[in-house]
């Protein structure tokens, strides 16, 4: 069983970090929330509503956007086309009907605007991850699930992403992010949840987590914060 008894509540408007060793079940949690997996028991509530059993596309339309750990762009298309697909299909029922304009705005925010007509296959890793973010954002989500958005990026790129996430948060989007790189977690999160072997072992402010003995033993080691 990948994920055992987990009880997590993310507040609207907060930035929540999700950390833990590899294989502890973090992505599984995302898969459960977004409808790719179905929990054997328990409920998942979003905006007062139980979303267990709903399909991923339905959940997207309800307002949850998500990036994948390994970027999954639409590889036959260009950057802006990728974003537009998300804007067209992900925003059904959320008002605002100019996908092109929205895509352009998002690409400018994520700093991909210059590369908007490039085929996705010519992008670097960093750009692909940015595209993941742009695409998820283009669906107009209220909750954004980010799966290791800065993994593999260098320090400059990480800083850029942190800035973008700050702006996104400023737009009123709730962020729930999985990371192994500690810097975004420490600088952005209001709270952090720690998962180990599919169970929650700690939850609280970043500064508290870093000093939590369980967390240090399970994951961080004594040379914790980057």
């Amino acid at each position: 069983m990948a994920v055992g008894e987990v009880d997590i509540a993310v507040e609207k408007g907060e930035v929540r970090g999700l950390i833990g060793p590899n294989g502890s079940g973090k992505t599984t949690i995302f898969n459960l929330v977004t409808g790719f997996y179905r929990p054997t028991s328990g409920s998942i509530r979003f905006k007062e509503r139980n979303i267990v059993g709903l399909s991923p596309q339905r959940i997207c339309r309800l307002g949850i956007g998500r990036t994948f750990q390994i970027a999954k762009p639409f590889h036959s298309m260009t950057v802006i086309q990728n974003t537009m697909v998300a804007a067209i299909y992900g925003k059904s029922g959320k008002g605002e009907k100019d996908p092109e304009k929205e895509s352009v705005e998002i690409l400018k925010l994520i700093e991909l605007y210059e590369k908007r007509s490039r085929p996705v296959t010519s992008l670097t890793l960093a750009d692909r991850k940015r595209l993941e973010l742009a695409r998820a954002l283009a669906t107009g989500p209220e909750l954004l699930l980010l799966d290791e958005t800065v993994a593999g990026l260098n320090a400059v790129e990480v800083d850029a992403v942190i800035e973008q996430l700050r702006k996104i948060r400023g737009m009123g989007v709730t962020i729930f992010m999985i990371e192994h790189v500690m810097r975004p977690i420490m600088t952005l999160s209001d709270r952090v949840t720690v998962i180990h072997h599919g169970k929650k072992i700690a939850e609280g402010k970043p500064s508290d987590i870093v000093n939590d003995k369980n967390v240090i033993d399970a994951y961080l080691g004594t040379e914790a914060v980057a």
């Binding site: 992505t27 898969n31 790719f36 997996y37 390994i70």
Partner: protein, 295 residues
């Protein structure tokens, strides 16, 4: 006595099912270990059967003896197919997912049309010279050919069981269960692939020969045999040799029953409908989880 009729039907069904079993065993081996569906599988079987046929007709070599020649030959052919056709196809980055079944589809039609040109669409039959010999078991008469078929099936099954215990066999089983882990353990996949395909083709040839013994042989039957083999494979559980053996016999029995009740023309329909039905009921329709495991 009713018992004799029933027993007769059962024996006949087993004999016919034996061919399906062997066909399915070869298919499940490749599909389980390599995730390659060889749509040309039935046609390879038919090819082997044709060679046996010509050995019989031209050189008067008994079909079972002919197997001694055909089996190694088909092994080589199978190995060649893997190395020169399947491997390059699967290595094309664009088509990794679809490659195996598109190209084996082409191969299937290639082989069957070669046969069509070379040997025409005439129905052929394999016969044995000693059909009048028979023994009596529990009141049921089993003639020599049927005995030979059953013996061959038992021998091949036993060989498989032994083989799966050898180092190579265990490697194949490992690949079936968890390919990535197997690769990490240092199993050399390329050498394995050719060998597995060779065994599969050889087994298919035996199955094809048995099939031609009980039914008729013609080029177009290859694809139908493939479909039946796929049905049996799915029923028996992908990757399971024992399952394929059992399910093949079951199919033989079912077909015999259907023939008995409704008539011979609907016999083929059984396998096709079973296939479609099981595909539709199969819970791993989308297998969403698999999309997340980077391969």
């Amino acid at each position: 006595m009713a018992w004799e009729i029933i027993a007769e039907v059962i024996v006949r069904a087993l004999v016919e099912g034996a061919a399906y079993s062997l066909l399915a065993v070869g298919l499940t081996l490749i599909f389980g270990a390599m995730r390659v569906l060889n749509i040309a599988h039935g046609d390879l079987a038919v090819l082997g059967a044709y060679i046996c046929y010509w050995l019989l007709v031209i050189f008067h070599i008994d079909v079972f003896i002919g197997l001694l020649f055909v089996v190694p030959l088909m092994f080589l052919i199978g190995w060649g197919v893997q190395k020169f056709i399947i491997n390059p196809a699967v290595s094309i980055p664009q088509f990794q997912v679809q490659a195996s079944y598109i190209i084996t589809y082409g191969l299937a039609l290639f082989i069957s049309n070669q046969e069509l040109i070379a040997w025409t669409a005439d129905y052929r039959s394999l016969t044995v010279a000693y059909s009048y010999l028979s023994i009596s078991v529990l009141g049921v008469t089993i003639n020599a050919p049927r005995l030979a078929v059953l013996s061959v099936t038992v021998i091949v099954s036993a060989l498989y069981m032994l083989f799966l215990r050898t180092r190579l066999g265990r490697a194949i089983r490992a690949c079936t269960q968890d390919r990535e882990a197997a690769l990490l353990m240092g199993i050399n996949f390329n050498k394995l692939a050719g060998f597995t395909f060779g065994i599969s083709a050889a087994t298919a040839a035996v199955g094809g020969m048995l099939f031609a013994l009980t039914y008729t042989l013609y080029p177009a039957v290859g694809l139908q045999l493939t479909i039946k083999a796929v049905t049996v494979m799915i029923f028996g559980g992908i990757g399971s040799v024992g399952g394929a053996l059992a399910a093949g016999l079951l199919l033989g029995i079912t077909e015999a029953l259907v023939t008995f009740v409704v008539g011979a023309t609907y016999k083929d329909l059984v396998a096709f409908m079973l296939l479609v039905i099981i595909l539709l009921i199969r819970p791993t329709g989308i297998v969403r989880k698999e999309f997340f495991l980077p391969k």
